[in-house]
């Protein structure tokens, strides 16, 4: 009795109990589809988050005032009395000791109410220098960006985020319109292209003004030269750590701090954010996959249950086959293949269901799902292994039946 014949016999046995086989297959199918889908969702979310974070700008270092001695504790008055100044950002841009830094964008932000006609919208007003657009990797959908001259002259101009423009004017076609902030009238000279972010802090809800305008006329504060954040763009991603060292030592030097543990600023990189986010989502994915794996295990137990029923029900057939000369291994093989067929069908159908759902799901929940061929392949393999593993005991029981007892059963 060769493999193809055993396969034919096993297949006809599976088919002759259609409903029972279908229900067993269903158990495996759901498990496999769940595993494929959760892994896909996990990978998709990881990809989304990485994309969102890198959309903030590439090769970026972020310098914020205040110090973090560890990831959990923050020292220094964040936002109350900023330790970073415009002079710091200029020093980083111009210094010969920072060859790996390409550009620096300083930001001075404060939430503020903007008025346009009767419309009222509270957004973040951010004072910037001209490098901001390139450093933050943003583009304009219309109009122009703030020029160096605007910064020098404290020009009364503003570039709106697409969401802000829509909120104030009902459209993004607003170049030439005026808005009022803090009693000052600003002319809209451009609108930023949407980056389509669905993170909690919208990148499309901003009002960008020249740094000098923000410092002297809109935000003011104790020190008009203090800034809230600096974005440092490295020459390339490989020079990011060199840029980090240069910015760190220059700022320590400028602030007259000898012990880096007492630094009154914090430099973080996109990489750190990405890796934090990735590890969070990886943990979630592992957890969900574990739960999905459990359902697969339950499906496997279902296969075992059905195979045991099948062996009991077919005791007479087993006895007859033994009387006609079937050696124990042939009987064992027949039942193992039967279990493997159940596992494989469940695996294949589960993979199809998983892939189809992965294709449909993004439209429903708005999160992308990445199907990795490896995950699909491994799941199908696992399904067969489960079928065979849980088929071993019933098959061995069938093989061990004494032919005389088996024949006698009715």
């Amino acid at each position: 009795m060769n493999w193809s014949e055993t396969l034919r016999i096993s297949w006809s046995a599976v088919r002759s109990h259609g409903l029972r086989s279908t229900l067993t297959v269903l158990g495996i199918l759901i498990g496999i589809a769940a595993v494929i889908l959760t892994v896909g969702l996990g990978l998709g979310t990881q990809k989304d988050v990485s994309a969102q974070i890198s959309s903030l700008g590439s090769n970026l270092l972020i310098v914020s005032p205040g110090s973090t001695t560890s990831t959990t504790g923050v020292r220094g008055g964040f936002g109350t009395s900023s330790t970073l100044t415009l002079a710091d950002s200029e020093a980083l841009t111009s210094s010969v000791s920072t060859p790996d830094i390409k550009a620096v964008a300083a930001e001075k932000s404060q939430p503020m109410a903007l008025t346009a006609g009767t419309a009222n919208w509270t957004t973040t007003v951010t004072g910037v220098t001209t490098d901001w657009l390139s450093v933050r990797a943003r583009t304009l959908s219309s109009g122009a960006f703030i020029t160096a001259a605007d910064v020098t002259d404290s020009a009364s101009v503003v570039v709106l985020g697409s969401q802000t423009a829509t909120q104030l004017f009902g459209s993004t076609n607003v170049v030439g319109q005026t808005v009022t902030a803090n009693g000052k009238t600003l002319t809209v000279i451009g609108v930023l292209a949407s980056v389509g972010s669905n993170s909690s802090t919208s990148l499309d809800d901003v009002a960008i003004v020249p740094m000098s305008t923000a410092a002297n006329e809109l935000i003011g504060g104790a020190t008009s030269s203090s800034i809230s954040t600096m974005y440092i763009e490295a020459q390339s991603s490989t020079q990011l750590s060199a840029a980090y060292q240069e910015a760190d030592s220059l700022l320590l030097n400028l602030h007259g701090i000898t012990n880096s543990a007492n630094a009154d600023f914090t430099i973080s990189s996109q990489d750190a954010l990405v890796s934090t986010a990735t590890s969070v989502y990886r943990t979630l994915t592992v957890l969900l996959t574990g739960i999905a794996g459990l359902s697969l295990l339950v499906g496997g137990i279902g296969v075992m249950n059905i195979m045991l029923v099948s062996v009991t029900e077919r005791t007479k057939e087993i006895g007859l086959r033994k009387a006609l000369g079937a050696p124990p291994w042939a009987i064992r093989r027949q039942f193992l293949i039967e279990a493997a067929i159940l596992g494989l069908s469940g695996g294949l159908l589960g993979a199809i269901l998983g892939v189809v759902s992965a294709w449909l799901l993004p439209g429903v929940i708005g999160s992308s799902v990445v199907i990795s061929p490896a995950a699909v392949g491994v799941s199908i393999g696992v399904a067969i292994v489960i079928g065979v593993t849980f088929g071993v005991y019933p098959a061995t029981r069938a093989a061990r039946l004494a032919p005389i007892d088996a024949l006698r059963s009715e």
């Binding site: 009795m1 002759s16 007859l320 086959r321 009387a323 006609l324 000369g325 124990p328």
Partner: protein, 247 residues
């Protein structure tokens, strides 16, 4: 095994002076234990059947004839004594060797036919050859020939449910024949049949005997046993009488 079967054929045309032994039971004892009670089903059976003989083992229920059937069919092993089948010593064989012996040397015909309901007639006949690793094409040809031999050449593709009891038993006989076994072992082959089908099957056995087959028929019906050329009477695990059937 091939030698034995070809020997069987040769014998049918030209009987040799010294007949070869198909079956030999020497001092055969079989005890069953149920709890603390030991029950002796066979109490020292001496039985020798030559190739080409047609023997009926006859006895009431509880006489031990079913145990003889199980021992002869290698479905069970002796507690004591020796069983030789076609020259092979069957005692102390493991399950794998016994499976091979059953496959090559024994053709079973059961009271309840024991056909697989989902398989067609020729697929049923094919089963023993599958375990003997006979190539596919040869299997189909031989199954077809065996079914023609029992008069069912036109019913190859019918499933057991589409055949009468007598026809089903003839399929079972074809399945027993197809592997050219040393003996055909029939356990109450007519027990589930009406009188017409009974005659039908017994006539088939007569023909097979005439063609040189070794047949051992286990029955409790005298009418059936009297078709054999030799009757072995069993009672309480012992052979009471072993006589040539004059009829």
């Amino acid at each position: 095994m091939v030698d034995t079967t070809s020997g069987t054929r040769r014998r049918s045309s030209a009987p040799t002076p010294e007949p070869r032994k198909a079956i030999e039971l020497i001092g055969a004892r079989k005890a069953y234990r149920s709890g603390t009670i030991e029950f002796e089903a066979l109490r020292g059976i001496e039985l020798s059947i030559n190739v080409g003989e047609y023997v009926a083992v006859m006895g009431p229920s509880g006489s031990g004839k079913s145990t003889i059937m199980n021992i002869l069919g290698c479905l069970d092993t002796l507690t004591e004594g020796q069983y030789r089948l076609g020259g092979d010593d069957v005692d102390d064989m493991d399950e794998i060797d016994l499976a091979a012996i059953r496959n090559e040397q024994i053709g079973f015909v059961f009271q309840g036919f024991n056909l697989m309901p989902s398989l067609s007639a020729w697929r049923n006949v094919e089963v023993p050859m599958m375990y003997a690793r006979v190539p596919k094409e040869e299997r189909k040809q031989r199954a077809q020939r065996a079914l023609e031999r029992v008069g069912l050449g036109s019913r190859l593709e019918n499933r057991p449910g589409e055949l009468s009891g007598g026809q089903q038993q003839r399929v079972a006989v074809a399945r027993a024949l197809v592997g050219e076994p040393t003996i055909i072992l029939a356990d109450e082959p007519t027990g589930n049949l009406d009188s017409v089908s009974t005659m039908d099957v017994l006539t088939l056995f007569d023909e097979l005997h005439a063609a040189g087959r070794t047949i051992v028929l286990i029955t409790h019906e005298l009418e059936v046993a009297q078709r054999a050329r030799r009757i072995v009477w069993v009672r309480d695990g012992e052979i009471m009488r072993d006589e040539v059937n004059a009829a």
